[in-house]
């Protein structure tokens, strides 16, 4: 599955963040797999028509978060998610996001059951999660 990134012009999200978010989402959804190679910075910059420094910034953030590894001379590759554990700070960010979502859902009148159902449905979109979880239990 090739990398598919869409830059929204005039977005509230900075361009490097849009690239970062879309790549990490595609990793989570299993559209990008361990060992897949990301396009070279200059190629992606030309394709998306954005400054190469912006793409490089997104790549370095992906690397910082452990989602990709850069091998000198060879390129940037999706890293193995089993190798990394989510740290406490990241978990607390996710917690905050959940709180926001849940309060939004409650405000528009959704019940707990409906929220749970929706969550399960969304979760099932991320088919890769089962593999990761399965592997971890076996270790």
């Amino acid at each position: 599955m090739p990398l598919w990134i869409q830059i929204a012009p005039g977005s509230k999200q900075p361009v490097y963040k849009q690239i970062f978010d879309q790549v990490s989402q595609q990793i989570a959804q299993g559209k990008l797999n361990t060992g897949d190679k990301l396009p070279a910075v200059r190629n992606l910059a030309a394709e998306l028509v954005v400054n190469p420094n912006t793409v490089a910034r997104a790549y370095s953030l992906l690397e910082q978060k452990g989602l990709v590894i850069t091998k000198t001379g060879a390129g940037t590759f999706i890293s193995d998610p089993k190798l990394k554990d989510p740290d406490m700070q990241q978990i607390s960010i996710i917690n905050d996001r959940f709180d926001n979502l849940i309060s939004q859902a409650v405000n528009i009148g959704m019940t707990g059951e409906q929220i749970r159902e929706l969550f399960e449905k969304r979760l099932s979109q991320f088919n890769k999660l089962d593999d990761i979880h399965g592997d971890k239990t076996n270790d």
Binding site: P9, G10, P14, A46, P52, T54
Partner: protein, 308 residues
């Protein structure tokens, strides 16, 4: 290369009569960057660009390109500079192939005919067509091809995409990205289309009433200008000395504050001291940030129907 800057201005100033169009502007543009020059109409962007290229003389201060004072630019150095003016003014009576020959003569060593032909083909233009028969967009395309064909080391463009449709605008952005990927190329361009600027520029400079108001990486500006909604337990204090505050709007116990890179600790301390808490942060696009950064706070809205 001894001078690290492709373009430099030192206290660059231009007066028209008694009013300063450009007022002690200090700009340093390193090689290899795409600099977006932002500012409202009449802020001094075009005057700055005109002085850089020696179309206008500074009242005082200096400016230079590739380390050479703008008033002493040699023909040799000029062949390394590309310039696109606002409105893409080209000789109307020339055919595209004639203007190609005319332009090529100025760049005996660097003119790339193949590149020019390829771009003209890509734009689906006939080289036998006269410039005056072209649409605005087509004329802009010819102007882009004429400017990129000699592979300029420094490209300066004054609002190049003004009035162009989205497709031609995107072609200009693509041209810029292609050029910057060649080693050491530098681009300075002004524009009012901030989503374009955000896409291609790694640095932005904001000029306001002839003065430099911001000069930083696009990313720094994006993260520095913030809009926070702050709630007060009691009446907000008279003196709103929040760290980094640019301006604010007050609505009883709630204020909406525009802050520039507020230090997190100082901000939290201020809130604690004033019985306030940060309710939320409003995310902004570059355009929102530019407006908040450059408007006069008392002149937020054009007018209100209710008053009349």
């Amino acid at each position: 290369m001894t001078n690290p800057y492709a373009i430099e201005t030192n206290d660059l100033t231009k007066y028209y009569g008694t009013s300063a169009a450009v007022d002690h502007l200090n700009l340093k543009i390193p090689y290899g960057s795409i600099y977006g020059l932002l500012g409202r109409n009449g802020a001094g962007k075009s005057t700055t660009i005109r002085m850089l290229l020696n179309f206008a003389r500074p009242t005082c201060g200096t400016c230079s390109i590739a380390g050479c004072d703008s008033q002493q630019l040699t023909p040799e150095l000029l062949t390394k500079i590309g310039y696109i003016n606002e409105g893409h003014k080209l000789y109307g009576s020339m055919k595209i192939k004639e203007i190609q020959q005319y332009q090529a003569a100025f760049f005996p060593d660097t003119w790339n005919s193949k590149l020019f032909d390829e771009m003209i083909d890509f734009f689906e233009l006939s080289k036998n067509k006269k410039i005056k028969k072209l649409s605005n967009g087509q004329r802009a395309q010819v102007s882009l091809a004429l400017t990129l064909a000699p592979d300029p080391e420094i490209l300066i463009m004054d609002d190049p995409t003004l009035g162009l449709d989205v497709v031609v605008r995107r072609q200009f952005l693509e041209g810029m990205i292609k050029l910057i990927q060649r080693k050491g190329r530098t681009i300075l361009f002004s524009s009012h289309i901030l989503s374009d600027v955000e896409r291609v520029a790694d640095h932005i400079a904001i000029i306001d009433q002839g003065r430099l108001r911001a000069d930083c990486t696009t990313e720094e500006f994006r993260s520095a200008v913030r809009k926070l909604i702050i709630h007060f337990d009691n009446t907000p204090p008279q003196e709103m000395n929040i760290p980094g505050l640019l301006h604010h709007r007050c609505n009883e116990h709630i204020i909406e504050a525009i802050l520039i890179a507020p230090p997190e600790d100082a901000l939290n301390q201020w809130c604690k001291d004033n019985n306030a808490n940060i309710h939320s942060e409003v995310e902004m696009s570059l355009e929102d940030q530019f407006i908040e950064y450059t408007i006069t706070p008392t002149k937020r809205h054009l007018f209100s129907w209710d008053k009349y």
